[in-house]
Symmetry: C2
């Protein structure tokens, strides 16, 4: 196994040259020096490399273990979690009144990448706690916030999200869990939830479950779902721990990846019902969930970047060590590594070029989150929120799909050794497989960008973003460098393809909406490749010729050129697929699937 | 788990309409009725469905077990192997004098698809025996053939291929295993081989190892490697079993997939050396291996088709049962399955369309093998051999890469359930991951089609195939149907892209060969998509409007249209990638990989 190296130099380039932090914090009315931000990131990198990375493979082998309704996490997870909380990492981005450090989202994002990179199974626990904190911040009463937030922010307690049921996966309208109101204002919950990550574990003293359920008189469908908070151990009014609640882990799943993380079946109300408190108002649970979901989906996209970075570093280490064959047109003297083979270089640069695009996009969106939250101007906040909503399905959908390719390529660099579990490359590939599924599959993201993010405003938010991308392409042309000009041309072409696709979506939706949704995933992919190309454009524009070494400039240019000529080049074909590829699937005769 | 259904109706369509068997057997001077061939295939399908499919998932869970140099295969494997041999399936395509049935390769191919589809781990054992039989047929003395072939053909004994060593993976020139000549004409082998599939197991009484090794005075590199046969148990001159040879299984690997198949470390000559007999002449081992390799690589490509078919059927069964959500623009009455969701249809048709292209290509190449072997005309045999050599890297490279996408999509249809091992979708995805690696990685296939199959003859064989594809596009235009015409146009464009790419390869190879090999995988992929489109073209041409029902015709047209608008449409971008995408990777500054 290689040692994880935090991607500090790419982060410095981004915060210094591409998306200058100084400007950003001023726009957001915040106060943070670049050096301070980098020091935080570096410190997190040390914890990730020294503490989480070494228990990633062992955690995969040991699995989470379920015995008598209890879950034991793998060796080392308790100590790592203690170090994580003691370092204050759990509350990095949360409000100071609850014990958080109120650092900008962009810094929290850079730090979270490292947790996900080094130990996705482990990092899911604090990530889910984040979700619970967000839900309570969005809609919790002051009483609930006071009761739960301090210990969730410190990490003393963890949080979970309970949405899925056997008959209700992507379709939350089918949720059946019941919430029966009690005379004292509480509710009693009855039902079964599945796929509950860290629904049960041994890292914290209490687990705070956020649960979607229906009250007896609720209307059918998603408009009749409410959000409840139901802790594993009831909490007395003075904050002291109370008795065990009527919620229990029924079993945990045997999964293809993220095997150190327990995925629980949760049984609510086997006897007299699990005590729950309503969060916000009745029947508005899905609404709160969707506000929070922007953050959760962003986080899963970030997992795609993170696991790609880790898999890349692992493959690179092997390519730098493994001696095999005589590379084409090289002397082939003894000791020439496979890094000199042209196709290994292609694989590695493909990974690196995608990773750089992904990290840039994640930082861009994280900065929009800071702006939407903190900018003084209401118009700036509104514009940022619009941008976040458009790009969230791209962050989730495109980064997670891209991570499949990157972890695939990383394994391929190892050849036969990659297929052997001891090597570790297989784990990244297996772990990554869940991220295009949970928090909404790629199709769900695609439906979101088609329906809510494009058709609903008739393409207005999309058009505004495309204008900004074209502005970048003009700046690229001004650089006067051939590869920048070629990237600029491809961006112009990619934006034109998106405009054509949007026009088609809007038009076709009035005639044949099923075709529109059969083209949703290719449409999402088109956004991904254009945004990735845009990010490489911004990176080229950000090159500071005076300050940067020629090798670094050459590398950033090569990475952008690779993206342009291997990825963005596919935009035109995607446009064709969107416009002409749908009807075959929609109209396929159902009698013939088995022939 | 779903029940495997042999793809009989597609096979009938192919053998009746697309590549008529009657013409084929006449051309090959063979005698086989269509109904007889279909009866053989159907019988094999029953064994696959009833006997191999049911022990696929249990075999994955149980793994092959290694204890004291012995390997136990999972429960049910011994019985299945006995049934397999008793049915005569092991010797289907081999010469009658050794007990084979001499059926055409095309029939053997259709049958082998079913073994690989239902139990890849199991089917590797007879597939490796096939390789050993081929090696002995190619180069073995009459004495060796008489000693080993009857029991290999019957399946009483199994065979293995011993190429890889720790320092010699893709690079066979680095092989170190020694072969010391003895006074009696035999050799003694000393060395360690790794990744030896079915190197040790409990299905047969003897295991016949084919081993690459070096004699003491051999020249360095691949020209100093010889091929030896070394059985687990020595065989007396009269054929009776003799003493244990000095070869032992040192351990087996813990793999990501095909876990029921033992992948052995083999230790030769721990004491006085493993007794081996030279196969053919000294120092010609690689040459024999490469003749045989065409068959082995073809078989691995076939595995890609097979596992895709099985994963597709499994996903389809789930899509037909799982009720979830209200499909766009449908009434959404209770009981509507996810098969009605546009994106699920896109995933399923993508799988089906690729599978149909893959199976057609496999049948086409298998028929070329029959022709190369049996046609009366020497010119026909030569042309077929040329075609086989060009298309073998496409069969291996493109079908195995495509299988990654198909098994990925199949898992995606299941959503979260796909990530749970009990569902079975994860196993197909994990099993499939090895096939782009073993028998030569995708990069090795790509280097082969660039170097040996395109540059060496200056594109002559490629040009001849492109002429034939254009002939198909002319026939498509004559059909007078819009989707056929669009496919024809895309085929013309794809062939033009290939010609441009070939011209670039030939030209660039004299100036910058490293760039040529950095474009090798995209070049291979371009061949794959054009050949896939060609196959769909041949299928459309083969439609018999008089005999086929309108639903079937509509389905075949939709499948071809899908391939055209989702896959073949990407040919132009691949051309650009080949011509302009290489230098970034080749010239990337080595100081910057870690920044």
């Amino acid at each position: 196994m290689s040692q994880y190296q935090p991607p500090l130099s790419d982060i410095r380039f981004l915060l210094d040259n591409v998306f200058p932090l100084a400007t950003h914090v001023r726009d957001c009315n915040m106060d943070l020096e670049l050096d301070t931000a980098l020091a935080v990131v570096e410190e997190a990198g040390k914890l990730a490399a020294d503490c989480l990375d070494p228990i990633n493979r062992s955690g995969d082998m040991e699995h989470a273990q379920w015995v008598d309704s209890q879950v034991a996490t793998p060796s080392g997870f308790k100590d790592a979690y203690r170090a994580f909380c003691e370092g204050g990492w759990n509350g990095l981005k949360f409000p100071a009144p609850y014990g958080g450090q109120e650092l900008p989202k962009v810094v929290a994002t850079l730090v979270e990448e490292m947790w996900f990179a080094t130990n996705l199974s482990f990092a899911m626990c604090p990530s889910l706690t984040n979700g619970a904190i967000e839900a309570l911040l969005i809609a919790g009463s002051e009483e609930l916030k006071a009761r739960y937030l301090p210990k969730l922010v410190s990490g003393e307690w963890s949080g979970t999200m309970n949405l899925t049921e056997p008959q209700a996966g992507s379709d939350l309208a089918a949720i059946k869990t019941k919430a029966m109101p009690q005379a004292d204002g509480t509710y009693r919950l009855f039902g079964q939830k599945i796929f509950i990550s860290f629904g049960e574990h041994d890292l914290t003293d209490n687990i705070i479950h956020l649960v979607l359920a229906r009250t007896p008189d609720a209307p059918p469908g998603v408009k009749g779902i409410s959000l409840f908070v139901a802790p594993k151990f009831l909490v007395n009014a003075d904050g002291s721990p109370g008795s065990r609640n009527d919620v229990r882990c029924g079993s945990i799943e045997h999964k293809m990846g993220i095997r150190a993380s327990p995925t629980a079946v949760m049984l609510y109300g086997e006897t007299d019902g699990a005590v729950g408190h309503l969060v916000g108002e009745e029947n508005r649970g899905i609404e709160y969930m969707f506000i929070m979901m922007n953050d959760a989906r962003f986080a899963v996209g970030l997992q795609g970047l993170a696991i790609s970075e880790r898999a890349y570093q692992h493959a690179l280490s092997y390519a730098e060590e493994r001696v095999q064959g005589k590379p084409v047109n090289e002397d082939g003297s003894l000791g020439t590594t496979i890094l000199r083979h042209p196709d290994v270089r292609r694989l590695l640069l493909s990974m690196k070029s995608h990773i750089e695009a992904m990290r840039s996009l994640a930082m861009y969106v994280a900065m929009q989150k800071d702006i939407a939250h903190s900018a003084l101007s209401a118009e700036a906040r509104r514009a940022a929120q619009e941008r976040i909503e458009l790009l969230t399905p791209v962050m989730k959908g495109w980064l997670t799909e891209t991570a499949q390719c990157v972890t695939y390529d990383a394994l391929q660099v190892f050849g036969g050794m990659g297929f052997i579990e001891e090597t570790g490359a297989a784990q990244y590939y297996r772990d990554a497989r869940i991220i295009t599924i949970y928090e909404g599959t790629t199709a769900i993201q695609a439906n979101d960008i088609v329906g809510r993010k494009t058709i609903r405003d008739k393409g207005a938010a999309a058009s505004s973003l495309l204008d900004e991308i074209l502005e970048t392409s003009r700046k690229l042309q001004l650089l006067g460098r051939p590869s920048a000009s070629r990237l600029a041309d491809r961006l112009v072409s990619g934006c034109a393809s998106l405009r054509t696709a949007i026009k088609w979506l809007l038009d076709e939706n009035t005639k044949n909406p099923r075709a529109v949704y059969a083209s949703a995933v290719p449409y999402l992919e088109l956004w991904g490749v254009v945004c990735g190309g845009w990010m490489h454009g911004l990176r080229l524009v950000g090159i500071n010729k005076g300050k940067m070494q020629s090798d670094e400039i050459a590398a950033r240019e090569a990475s952008a050129e690779f993206f342009s000529e291997h990825v963005l080049v596919g935009a035109t074909a995607l446009e064709t697929t969107i416009l002409h590829g749908a009807s075959a699937a929609v109209d396929y005769p159902d009698t013939q699937w088995r022939r």
